[in-house]
């Protein structure tokens, strides 16, 4: 672990954190919520919560993981409150350069996969997004989702394995004997 003497008293200005991390936090929220307006609402709400708590944050904290954690919890609350009306595929998911039949087939496949992902336990889905698309370490994912790094790793593995099993691409990898297949690892 790297220790920087005197760094604990030098917390960056909150504006600096906003400029450094708002983009990736927004991307995470968009990925979790699949909706631009909800992503922006949670971005604003999450950063307000962070702003209010910033004075009390330890100067040696991992600011990035801390922001993800607050924003992620905001999104989770929103997901819980959202009526399960199904996902609307936005335009950006279809590739108009392909022939129309191919597009339709792809869209069908996409919808099925999206439904499968939505059906995953929250921590499994969040872990996949945080690892594969936000490129965070398992340690950080553990901090964000209140689990150990090992559980974060297992959650990513199980989520991908479940999707592969369901969609039969290249066959399923053996399921590790960590927990029941359908439960997230806390």
């Amino acid at each position: 672990m790297e220790v920087t003497v005197g760094a604990s008293n030098k917390k960056p200005q909150f504006d600096v954190l906003v400029d450094a991390h708002a983009g990736e936090i927004y991307a995470y929220l968009w990925r979790m919520l699949q909706n631009e307006q909800d992503a922006e609402d949670c971005l604003q709400e999450g950063f307000l919560k962070a702003y209010l708590a910033y004075d009390r944050l330890d100067g040696s904290a991992n600011y990035r993981a801390w922001l993800y954690r607050i924003a992620g919890n905001t999104a989770r609350t929103r997901l819980r409150g959202r009526l399960r009306t199904g996902v609307l595929l936005s335009e950006e998911h279809s590739d108009s350069s392909l022939p129309i039949e191919q597009q339709a087939e792809n869209t069908f496949q996409l919808e099925a996969v999206i439904q499968a992902i939505e059906g995953l336990p929250y921590k499994q889905r969040a872990s996949v997004i945080l690892r594969k698309y936000q490129e965070l370490s398992y340690e950080e994912i553990g901090m964000i989702l209140d689990t150990s790094a090992e559980s974060a790793r297992a959650n990513v593995y199980q989520a991908l394995n479940k999707l592969r099993t369901q969609f039969g691409n290249g066959g399923a990898l053996p399921v590790p004997n960590l927990a029941e297949e359908n439960s997230e690892v806390a």
């Binding site: 909150f14 504006d15 906003v18 400029d19 708002a22 983009g23 927004y26 991307a27 968009w30 990925r31 992503a39 922006e40 971005l43 604003q44 950063f47 307000l48 702003y51 209010l52 708590a53 950006e92 998911h93 590739d95 792809n106 496949q109 996409l110 996969v113 999206i114 992902i117 996949v128 997004i129 594969k132 698309y133 991908l160 999707l163 592969r164 969609f167 691409n169 290249g170």
Partner: protein, 203 residues
């Protein structure tokens, strides 16, 4: 990369945040940095209690008034956004509640007299210097700030005290010791109540 990962890439791709989203967030952050935070308690020893703080300290305390009026006046007077936050106000609020229940005698809190004139500020700071259990007269405060002829203006400055209780204008009394004027809710009754709470002997 297998087919599932390709499909995931199509779903999660690269959602770019529009510059207008970042601009709106930056705008909010600027508002928060200048904001006044408030909280309201419906039922206290002095009635409904409203407390507002800035990053510098307590800005306003009112009791017996309604929330909408309090917020409207704060925003109009200071030209900033007032945002409700139990978290930001909790330290000040809990010290006031401890004081009202007799568990605290003095406050350990900064005050922010942002909209007061130089004269009002001197008067209010002189009032803060009067310890609990004691009283001072308007004339004594006037003398203390080097303006012995201004006891009437001292009275007016105290009547406009934006932070009653913490700036103890209730400890300032008339030359004969009588309790004249208290602009907070409950008027002179409240003034007497606060002085009794502090153990002052009331003439």
């Amino acid at each position: 990369m297998d087919k599932i990962e390709e499909t995931l890439d199509a779903i999660y791709g690269t959602p770019a945040m529009g510059t207008e989203v970042l601009d709106r967030l930056r705008h909010s952050v600027r508002q928060w940095q200048e904001a006044i935070w408030y909280d309201a308690l419906r039922d206290t020893a002095v009635g409904p209690l409203l407390v507002a703080v800035s990053d510098q300290g307590v800005v306003a305390i009112e009791f017996g008034t309604d929330e909408a009026g309090f917020v409207g006046e704060l925003e109009a007077r200071h030209g900033v956004t007032a945002i409700r936050s139990m978290e930001r106000v909790s330290e000040t609020m809990s010290q006031i509640l401890q004081y009202l229940s007799g568990d605290r005698r003095s406050f350990e809190i900064d005050i922010d007299l942002r909209d007061s004139t130089e004269f009002q500020r001197k008067v209010l700071e002189a009032a803060v210097a009067v310890p609990p259990g004691y009283v001072a007269t308007y004339g004594e405060i006037a003398t203390r700030i080097g303006k012995p002829q201004s006891s009437r203006a001292v009275g007016q400055a105290l009547a406009r005290n934006p932070i009653p209780i913490i700036v103890p204008c209730h400890r300032v009394v008339a030359a004969d010791g009588s309790l004249t004027g208290y602009s907070g809710a409950g008027g002179i009754e409240t003034k007497a109540h606060l002085l009794r709470l502090e153990g002052a002997t009331i003439a």
